[in-house]
Symmetry: C2
Subunit: 320 residues, 2 copies
């Protein structure tokens, strides 16, 4: 049994819920050989596909396309070049093809898209960027789920974050997506403040100025926070080895492996997207992680089986 009030009402009884409860009880029981001091109870979670929905395309990509389209609307020069052309023409076929060709081993258009992304925000002040992301996430609406982007978090995982915090854990986000894109909403959506968001970032430059020094994005990549970079970035930011990690794809394998340690317990949660009615049903990009979960006894969280509710009811604003 959990050691505090149990807020996990959106979970069905089953092996995933039992594993979570058992682990939390074990590391918080002072009489347990697996007791972990509160300051060492670090939990890390991927974002896209783990904390919120990443289909039919990552939410951040919508933000980038909106920006590219705005650039092409204002200035005709890039309209004939990808990715501005696709963004300007709302050509989702080209964009979908980028991903399809990527899985087929052809990254030519991935490079074209990434080049556009780097241009899209070059020179922008980080605080202006956050304000734009905040607006997009609160005003934009998911194309099929009929809810605002900031309401696309998975209710059971949000409950889990609260349950962990009530049991002395400190939660971090370690996402492949852009760190500064998520930061404006993570406190409201997940209860995780900006300083506990780890993620990818373009390079930054300090622009001096007394009392008005600022930081702007450069047109260069800096960190892509995926696969073996995830544990490295977690260490760099936290200075502690997590004991709990949650993910949903191959890029999360090293982070999941890193949870725990030779002398401490670790819990690894892997979300399986197997619910076409309430969310989506896909395995692309997650094949190896599911195989490893099977081989190593990681805890698979099946959306269809383990979640009684997937999303919270959206706020009723007359547009639902």
């Amino acid at each position: 049994m959990a050691s505090r009030d149990d807020p996990l009402v959106s979970w069905n009884d089953g092996p995933a819920l039992a594993a979570i409860r058992e682990f939390v009880a074990r590391v918080t029981d002072q009489g347990s050989p697996d007791f972990v001091a509160p300051e060492e109870r670090v939990a890390v979670f991927d974002n896209d596909g783990t904390l919120w929905c990443e289909q039919p395309m990552p939410i951040e990509l919508g933000f980038i396309l909106q920006r590219l389209a705005a650039m092409a609307d204002k200035d005709p020069e890039p309209r004939d070049r990808q990715p501005w052309k696709a963004a300007h023409d709302r050509d989702y076929g080209w964009l979908g093809g980028v991903i399809t060709r990527h899985y087929a081993g052809d990254d030519t258009d991935v490079k074209v898209l990434l080049g556009g992304i780097l241009q899209a925000f070059a020179g922008m002040d980080v605080q202006d960027y956050q304000a734009a992301a905040h607006s997009f996430l609160h005003q934009g609406r998911h194309p099929t789920l009929r809810r605002r982007f900031a309401e696309c978090g998975y209710r059971p995982v949000i409950e889990l974050l609260g349950y962990l915090e009530a049991n002395g854990f400190t939660n971090y986000i370690a996402c492949g997506g852009d760190r500064d894109f998520m930061r404006p909403v993570t406190q409201a959506v997940y209860g995780i403040p900006a300083e506990r968001v780890i993620g990818s970032s373009n390079a930054l430059r300090y622009v001096p100025g007394e009392g008005r020094g600022s930081i702007v994005y450069l047109a260069e990549a800096d960190v892509f926070d995926d696969a073996p970079v995830k544990p490295v970035r977690i260490w760099s930011r936290v200075g502690r080895q997590p004991i709990l990690a949650g993910g949903n794809s191959n890029g999360d394998i090293p982070m999941l492996e890193f949870a725990g340690g030779s002398s401490r317990p670790g819990l690894r949660l892997l979300v399986l997207h197997d619910d076409p009615e309430r969310e989506f049903d896909y395995i692309a990009g997650a094949e190896r992680s599911q195989e490893q979960a099977e081989a190593q006894g990681w805890t698979v969280v099946s959306i269809r089986r383990d979640w009684a509710t997937v999303f919270a009811d959206p706020a009723d604003d007359g547009h639902g």
Copy 2:
């Protein structure tokens, strides 16, 4: 007057103490136009020369030399090469000359020393490194101050950290020194946990392994957290612009400038080492920062004038 119990007993009355009290009162008074919400009350401090003593040489350099000497003691091969030779022979003349020649514009030996430093910890697990740093800082003794390294923190600044925290601030260290070297002691010495230490780091690599994945240092530099890199790293880690910054050298200028913002108040503290009797008297490497403090009205903290006590009494262990 301060809004909470005042723990600043090691400060003399004067302009620095008055500026600190006035600023804290202003940003914590809900009726003030300069009120800042608690989550935005971020304070950042340089470490060497601001939070603790950096003379006659940075404490971390002693740790590195100990490691280089141990390498040369174990293996004769590098004994004829710098910096192992100097470390093995305890040739502080060569080491002092590196700094002298650096200030004279000759960085040949700086590169030799840095090359040795990168080799010194290459392949070491980050947790083993932290354990070694912890031992060094608790067991090693400052050559002239006759106290353990972990007791070389400035008592007035430690009081200031507590005062800020009691007033809703969150304190971070943003140091040019190595992040992981400081982390094992910052909670005990400054009340600042590992996850709030920002600093330089060698490159890291994840070494996979189920339940025993680990992170090791590579023989390459990654981040040198100084000058314009400081505000960039602060933003990357915190996601907020600090309102208070403390430093003591030219490398802190951008961080000090970055405190506050166009629509918010900012307090900039610059420690001046002008007390040869109780600490040290030096300006090398801090000339421009003192000029800028003068020109911009930053708050200079004179050790001789503003601090009634510089260090806490060392723990009495029979070796004092």
